[in-house]
Symmetry: C2
Subunit: 337 residues, 2 copies
Amino acid sequence: MSESRSRSFVSAQMVADRAGVSRSAVSRTFTHGASVSEATRRKVLEAAGALGYHVNHLARGLRERSNIVCLVVADMTTPIRARMVEVLTRKLQAAGKITMVINTETETESVDSALRQTLNYRADATVVLSGTPPASLIETCLANGQQVILINRDEDLRGSSNLGVDNAMAGREALFLLRRAGCRRLGLVTSNARTASLVERERVFVEAARAAGLPVAVTEAGPTHYASGRDAARRVFGRSQAPDGVFCVTDLLALGFMDVARHEFGLAIPRDLCVVGFDDIEQAGWDSYRLTTFSQPLDAMADEVVDLLLRPAPGSAQRRIIEPVPVWRHSVRPGPV
Amino acid sequence: MSESRSRSFVSAQMVADRAGVSRSAVSRTFTHGASVSEATRRKVLEAAGALGYHVNHLARGLRERSNIVCLVVADMTTPIRARMVEVLTRKLQAAGKITMVINTETETESVDSALRQTLNYRADATVVLSGTPPASLIETCLANGQQVILINRDEDLRGSSNLGVDNAMAGREALFLLRRAGCRRLGLVTSNARTASLVERERVFVEAARAAGLPVAVTEAGPTHYASGRDAARRVFGRSQAPDGVFCVTDLLALGFMDVARHEFGLAIPRDLCVVGFDDIEQAGWDSYRLTTFSQPLDAMADEVVDLLLRPAPGSAQRRIIEPVPVWRHSVRPGPV
DNA sequence: TTGAAAGCGATACCAT
DNA sequence: ATGGTATCGCTTTCAA
């Protein structure tokens, strides 16, 4: 009867009518591990197929978990972020979750409204890749039984789970690499984003260098992009005392830095200049760059997120640090010239 | 009372109880353009704030549109795809929609299950960026009142709206550029993906060249990635008759191609070799490449998608072709040597 | 195994 | 302007 109207979703009731069974039978057929006779099951499946029935997860989510996970992210076109989104959506999907992406566009824009959306859609969890959510809102998410997972945020907000890479290690290791290459005049290039991760890499690198008696010229460029790396290089090599070893806190910065150093100042890498990056984006491996850098173990991080989601005890908010892995390529000499 | 239990979402009823009004009043307060007295409104808002209430969009979606849009996409880490996803999520969000991302991982993997998810969550529309959905499923989506928008798919499936760039124009223009540069031995590099877009660019380029009396050596590499461009270059320059003008159907292919041509075969670009790409990914503009290419008008495409969604007459499935815009950089000479 | 019925949370319609 | 009620589609008791 009512199926003829089309142009609207088909419900379990319609399937039940057509199959000549009760609405409950239909529900059971699609609920894993429910008891239905083979005969009923077949009838239901047949009717469902004919009608094009699909279980309404919205309605299902009314009573239990929605299986929705929100991803709050800015700067999605950045290679590293794109990879994070890809890995997360893929692994979440494999775990039976569906991902809602909330694009906060700029790091500064309020994550606030994003968190609210997350609440509106009754997401089981929110994964924050960008920005700093206000503590009060996190409180609200938690109070509503929603998990909050912060990635590379380091803000250490109570109740939220934190996941990040060991930035200190990267800072120390970068210094080690440059010193081993015999670099004497060190430089550090960072962006004006000043996120906790970036600041930490800078701090450790500079402090370790200072401890070794090597001062570091710090250059703060614009946003964490290729163009900022270029700008930084122009500034750095315009000065009298140009560095011969530079740690760029991000691959994108490093790539822009290298291009200007080479094409505008005629520097040979790694002969005249050694460069270390961070992230190991795909482009870092391209023949024109062959950048020595640190790879973020994205798979491991995504696995951890899924694990956190599936874990029965969400109360135990924790902080997990994952080690980045050094990737030696050719932008740093293996030893002094 | 019940608010103390926490660990569960707060409902309109709780807010109503606390504010001492009816559940309807709460609903009205949050429905745009409903009539509530200022006094009631204030009481509701106050209670809602205290309780941390957020309208349940899942429940709302039970009766009317869900405002969910599904994005079916593979190969998300690819710069062009990442940008598409970014633009779409951003513009959809601005239009009051929320985006669900379904990662189909590989072009070949069944878009089938993705479409089903879309149906499960009662998405108002599905935007397909990758893969070829089976016609029958599209049928089902449409029958359920869901819009289907295919981007750069060209499969021309009945009922779905199609959006794409003018690949023929790019093929023709690429040839024009290379001929003007005085190239005599033409080459074309494509991937084994053989999507409609890629095939079309190839077809038009080759046919136009043939018409002009210039044969084209076609090289089909692996997937549409940087590594495939490198492989192609190795194959192409290993042969006796190396080309002096090449159209790579994708920037990623072009970049890999350029790197090998330069670093492994010592070719100077554009002196010894001219290269044209397609997509205008960010890296194409980097100093190491300065690739002449065509830019996909992603903003316009996203606007069109939003427009399609908001349009009252979804019955009129249409096909919109948008012109890519040539981006002249330095991988092609302005004239003969 | 099966069907009837009670929610889940919100909105639209109807009276008031 | 306000409150009561039906309804959306599903899952889950509870009886039979």
